[in-house]
Symmetry: C3
């Protein structure tokens, strides 16, 4: 079995961890504090594209995603951004629910499991 | 490594994704909106049986489950149905917590990771 | 592919499940009901050390962690204990959010995915 590769650890968590061809990605938020959910979703999915690329994967290779929204009534806005980003025919599994996040600055947080290409 | 197989994608998520002998299953809810948690739990676990079978697995091969309840005070009722469904000696790992779901129609949502038989 | 090994099943869930060199660990809580989050976090991470060891892993081999706090305002206290426990250079991926737990006795619950050494 392969070694574990960890990226961008900060003493608390790694941004991504790769083992045996599977990429685990930490909960990622947007860049702009207090921006609306659509803005933050676009920002965080751009970050996901970057993280997946840095770890030999891409959005066509996502296996499962978890979406946490501090206000579930914003799920329609999140879905607009998500649906435009996901590659048709390559949709991951998903679970989505309401949960307050570590900071009230963020409107959505998503973590992923993906396969290396 | 094996190809990724995706089932029943709807542009947002796939019902199940299989990679390297592991089946990821999306968050599944019951069939009858606003039915009580026991009814919905039975319905969704029947759906899980169908999804697992369609992907070469079954409830004896579940590795990990996540249970999300919009009202944690219903966990006793959920557990009654869950405990009757789970195969003794083949219990998966589990985490269970309260979180509002995408629609108030649903009283419980469960996602799984299972192994192909 | 390897067999599935399950540890300490109770008819509802197994404490840990191992398959193909990956250890899944159920949501673990502290030992002392109603103790503060730091006390319970220390207790549960000691339990994690024991579970990981029993399944051929350790805290340097954690791939991903999910932290659920019934009161997200206690995340700073949780992080103090977490940061002291995590091995620098071996940080797992992490997602952390607020969700009420099955019992109000517990201030934090954590589940993990780790690699066998």
């Amino acid at each position: 079995m392969s070694e574990i590769v960890r990226k961008n650890g900060n003493g608390r968590f790694s941004e991504a961890v790769v083992k045996d061809g599977i990429v685990y990605v930490s909960g990622i938020t947007g860049d702009t504090p207090y921006a609306d959910v659509k803005t933050q979703a676009k920002e965080l999915l751009a970050t996901m594209d970057r993280i997946l690329a840095e770890n030999g994967s891409d959005k066509e290779h996502i296996l499962a995603a978890q979406v946490v929204l501090p206000d579930i009534s914003t799920v329609g806005e999140l879905n607009e951004v998500w649906d435009a980003w996901v590659v048709k025919g390559h949709e991951p599994c998903r679970i989505c629910f309401e949960g307050r996040l570590v900071s009230p600055k963020y409107r959505v947080e998503i973590c992923l499991i993906a396969a290396v290409k």
